[in-house]
Symmetry: C2
Subunit: 405 residues, 2 copies
C-alpha cells in the first residue's frame, strides 16, 4: 500500500479545536486506503514558551538540555493528535523521534539526520494504525534527544517520505500554496500549481517563508514531491517537483523581496590576491552571513568591495570592515542601512535570453536605481533602495505577467 506523509505545522495545531480538525483531515486521507504517517510540529507558541522558561533559568543553557527541553513541544502535539484520531474511531499511535528511529549526528540544536530505521513505523502501519511522528527531533548515538534546527519538521517529514518510499509529502500550512510573490504586497499574486525544486529553493532562501530550503533540498535529493497546502481549506495547493516533469513555458515563475538588507562598501582596497578572502573570513568568524558580493575595479590595482548583510548584522559588520580597511590600507568604509533585494526566479530564464535586460529596464523606466546585481542560472537579484522595494516588486510581477498564471 502506498504511504502518504502529511506534515502539520504549529499554526495548524494552535488549539485543541484545530487538532481535532487535523485529525478529521488525516482520517479523510486514511479512508482513501492509504497508510498515513503524520509529522507534527509543536502546538502554536509552545516552543517559544519553553524557550522563555529556559532563558529564565539560564543565560546560556547547554545545547543538550535545550534540546531535551524544547523537543517536548512536539511530544505533546504528537500524543494529542494521536488521541484525537483515536477519538474519531481510527487506531493511531504517536512516536517520538527516537521511537520512530530517526538518528542524527551528535550535535545539538542543529543536528543533521543521518539515518532512519523505519521498523517501528512499518510495524505500526502494518497493524493498521495512523502513525504520528514528532518532527524536529531525533536521537544521537549517546541515546540523547537532539533537535535538527530551522525547518526541522518539514525536513523530518521529507526524510520519512523518502525512507518509506512515499511519492508525495503533504506539508499543511497556514497558506494555501506557493504564490508568484507575496500576496500581502502584490494582491494580484497567483497561486502556482507546480514549481520546480530549484525555483522553490531560490524563492525559499530569498524570503518566501512557506518551505525551509533544507526540506526542499532533501526532497530534491530523494525525488519526493512536496505538496504544499492549506490546513484550513480542502483545495489543492502547490506541487514542488522535478522541473523535467513539467513544461517550462514561462521564463519567470516568481518574484520575491528581502526588505531587511544593509549594504557596506570598502573603498579603494589594494588589489592583492587574498584581500577579498580576508574580508569575508573575518565576517564569517563572527557568524555574519553575507548575501550579495560585488568587486569592482575602479582603477589599476585598487578595488571597491561591496556586499550586503542582514540589517541586524550591520553594526558588527561595519566594525569588522573598518578594522580590515585599516589593516589593508583601504580608503574608507561606507554603508547604507536601508536596502532591499528584489529578485525574479524561474528555470525558464535559462533558455530565454533578455530576461535580465528586461528586469533592469523595468526598474530604470520607473526611476528605481540599482545598487548591486547578482545572478544565478535561474535567478536575478537587484539591491535597491528600501523605499522603492514594494513598488519594484509590483512592477516586476506585472511586467513578467506573473498575475496571468
Amino acid at each position: 500500500m502506498t504511504v502518504l506523509v502529511q506534515k502539520f505545522g504549529g499554526s495548524s495545531l494552535g488549539s485543541t479545536e484545530r487538532i481535532r480538525a487535523v485529525a478529521s483531515r488525516v482520517i479523510e486521507s486514511k479512508l482513501k486506503h492509504q497508510d498515513i504517517v503524520v509529522v507534527v510540529s509543536a502546538m502554536g507558541d509552545t516552543t517559544d514558551d519553553l524557550i522563555k522558561l529556559a532563558r529564565e533559568v539560564s543565560d546560556h543553557p547547554s545545547p543538550r538540555e535545550y534540546d531535551a527541553l524544547i523537543s517536548t513541544g512536539e511530544n505533546i502535539a504528537a500524543a494529542l493528535v494521536a488521541m484525537a484520531i483515536e477519538a474519531q474511531g481510527v487506531p493511531a499511535v504517536s512516536l517520538t523521534g527516537p521511537q520512530a528511529g530517526i538518528y542524527t549526528e551528535n550535535l545539538y540544536s542543529k543536528a543533521k539526520i543521518t539515518k532512519v530505521d523505519p521498523s517501528r513505523i512499518m510495524s505500526e502501519l502494518d497493524a493498521g494504525k495512523v502513525v504520528v511522528v514528532t518532527g524536529f527531533q531525533g536521537i544521537n548515538d549517546l541515546n540523547d534527544v537532539t533537535t535538527i534546527g530551522r525547518g526541522g519538521s518539514d525536513t523530518s517529514a521529507v526524510v520519512l517520505a523518502a525512507t518509506l518510499g512515499a511519492p508525495v509529502c503533504e506539508i499543511y500550512t497556514d497558506v494555501d500554496g506557493v504564490y508568484t510573490t507575496d500576496p500581502r504586497i502584490v494582491p494580484e499574486a497567483c497561486k502556482l500549481e507546480e514549481i520546480s525544486y530549484d525555483e522553490m529553493l531560490e524563492l525559499a532562501s530569498l524570503g518566501a517563508k512557506v518551505l525551509h530550503p533544507r526540506s526542499v533540498e532533501c526532497a530534491k535529493e530523494n525525488r519526493v514531491q512536496i505538496h504544499v497546502r492549506s490546513s484550513f481549506k480542502p483545495d489543492t495547493g502547490t506541487i514542488v517537483k522535478e522541473d523535467s516533469q513539467m513544461e517550462v513555458n514561462r521564463p519567470v515563475t516568481g518574484a520575491t523581496l528581502n526588505e531587511e538588507e544593509a549594504l557596506i562598501t570598502i573603498q579603494k582596497l589594494q588589489d592583492r590576491p587574498g584581500v577579498a578572502g580576508q574580508v569575508f573570513t573575518r565576517l564569517a568568524e563572527s557568524s555574519i552571513n553575507v548575501d550579495m558580493i560585488i568587486q569592482s575595479a575602479e582603477e589599476d590595482q585598487v578595488n571597491d568591495i561591496t556586499f550586503t548583510v542582514h540589517q541586524n548584522d550591520l553594526k558588527a559588520a561595519t566594525l569588522i570592515s573598518q578594522e580590515v580597511a585599516r589593516d589593508l590600507g583601504a580608503k574608507a568604509v561606507k554603508f547604507d542601512e536601508s536596502i532591499a533585494k528584489v529578485s525574479i526566479v524561474g528555470v525558464g530564464m535559462i533558455s530565454k535570453p533578455g530576461i535580465a535586460a528586461k528586469m533592469f529596464r523595468v526598474l530604470a523606466e520607473n526611476s528605481i536605481n540599482i545598487k548591486l546585481i547578482s545572478t544565478s542560472e535561474i535567478k536575478i537579484s537587484c539591491a535597491i533602495d528600501q523605499k522603492d522595494a514594494r513598488r519594484a516588486l509590483r512592477l516586476l510581477h506585472h511586467a513578467f505577467e506573473l498575475d496571468k498564471h
Copy 2:
C-alpha cells in the same frame, strides 16, 4: 562516594524562580562531596494542564497516548533543573525515565517499576555531574513511555536510592516534615523527628498527604531511609526509618482524620457462606474501594454488614448494595453520607494495653458517638459523625499528649 537522592515535587518547582532555588539547594549538597541524583516531578500545574488538553481532544484517551502526553511534564522540569544547576557553575545532565534505565511493566498509567539499569546514571555521576532524573515515568519492553501512577515520583526516588545504594532519600515538599496530626486542624501538632515505616504507612494511607504509601513500602522493603523536608526552609525534617532503630517510648505517634467517608449498611442478610464475598466482589468489580468493614450478628442466621466508602463512591455503592440486597433477600440498605474516620497510630500501642479503651473513653466523655471501629496492630480507627470530626481529632491529640513531642 555516597550517593544522595533528592526528590523535588511540583510545588517546589512551581516557577523558574523556585527552580533556581532548588538548583542552589542541590549544589549546596553537592559541595559536601556527595554524588547527587535529583528526581523531579512536573512543575506546578503542568500535569493538570496536560490532562485538560487530553480531555479536550478525547473523551477516553488511550492509556498509552495519555502516558506519552503527561510524562512530558517531568521532561520539561528535569531539563530546566539541569540548566539551572549548570547556570550556577556545576555540571549537570537531565535523564528521562527511559534514559535513566527505569523499566516498568507493560501497563500504562499505573505501571510498576520492574528493574533499573543504572549504568547511564553511574557514568554521568562518574563524570562529576549532578544527574537529574524525571520521576513518575519509565519505559516498557515495547520501547514506550509509561507512567507509574499515584505517588510516582516519590517511588521513583526511593527505587533509585535503593538501586544506587544510597542510604537516604530526601523528599522535598511544601511541608517541613511529618506531624503528629494535621496542623491546620490542630495548631498544637508537633513535627516528628523520626517515624517508623509502618507508622508512616498507616498515617499515609489514612490521609496524611506527605508521602504516598507506595514509596514508604518501597523504602521499607529496601531499607532506604526517607528524609521528608521543606523545599523552602533549611531545617531538618522527619526521618522515616526502621522502628528497631529508635526507642519506642510513646504509645501513639500520630492522629489522623479522613473526612470524606460515607457508610452503608445492608440489613438482615441471610448468614450463608459467601454472602460477604458477593457484596464486596461486586463493589470491587466497579472499582469501588471499601475501607472499614463490620459484620454483626443480630440474631440467628441474619447479619448486618456495614462498610465505609469514599463519599464520591456512595451513589454507585448504594445502587450495587441494593441489587445485592434484592438478590440475597436482605431487608434493606441504609446509608449515611457524612461520616469521618478518626485514627490514632503508633508502634508503641502493641506493647501498651489500654490505648483503645482510652480512645473510646475520650470520645464517649465528649458525647461523640462511635459508629464503627476497626483496628490493626498499630492503629485504631473510629467512624464518627462528620460534624464531630475535627473536635475528636483535637481531643485525641491532646489526650495522647501528641502536643508534647
